[in-house]
Assembly symmetry: C2
Homo-oligomer: 110 residues x 2
DNA sequence: TTCTTATGCTACGTTTTTAGTAGCGTCAAT
DNA sequence: ATTGACGCTACTAAAAACGTAGCATAAGAA
């Protein structure tokens, strides 16, 4: 066992995708990445952009994201790392897809 | 206001991507899509594949996913819809990326 | 200097979500 | 008739998230 890979919520495999799905499965994680994708932002800036996320959660998410090497603290606030940017590109792709997805499903549904 | 777009957790915009991020931000949602990506699966099958997710949550997730038009109930259990498959492809892309991501970050970290 | 203003963040009580286990009703095969 | 698997609901306990208040620090204006 060369890489213990620290068991992750909902999965003992340690497969990277599982780690990622686990991370993404926590509330606000993806949203924070999404907002940072638009540029650096301060703690309080993120708070308002995320529509009043509680500071407790925001802080723990930022910790997780920094541990994951996706976000880091810069001079102008928090920024995406190169890896974070790469993931952000995937989110952009999802954005494009989601557009069509929404249009496709019955537009006159509640 | 042509499409009320039913305010979504953490966002009042109703932008499709927000709806998606919201959905994905719930525990197990992405994991379920991931498992279904591998093929149709029964309720109990999903339960075991997801490592003992409680039936309560699995059921509410499946409901959300069906409402979202990503999953449907077929004769052999639950299946991804075309939209679900498309999303699954994005997950596959993420899988590939996550591989490199994991390799890139310090491999001898706890 | 003193006062304001903004920052990142912690404390803590309340609410919401998830977990965990038990079991019901249905159906098909034995 | 009984057994087994199925989809799923009920219910309580535990964990996560919320919401508000506030602290400590630092930079700028008065």
């Amino acid at each position: 066992m060369t890489r213990p890979a620290k068991a992750v919520r909902g999965s003992t495999t340690g497969r990277p995708i599982m780690v990622l799905l686990d991370l993404a499965g926590q509330r606000w994680t993806l949203r924070i990445l999404w907002e940072l994708q638009a540029g650096p932002e301060t703690f309080r800036g993120l708070q308002t952009r995320c529509g009043g996320i509680s500071p407790t959660v925001l802080n723990t998410r930022l910790k997780s994201l920094r541990d994951a090497g996706l976000v880091e603290a810069g001079p102008n606030g928090y920024v995406l790392t190169p890896d974070g940017e790469a993931l952000g590109q995937h989110l952009l792709a999802l954005d494009a897809w989601a557009q069509g997805w929404a249009d496709r499903r019955d537009p006159r549904l509640p």
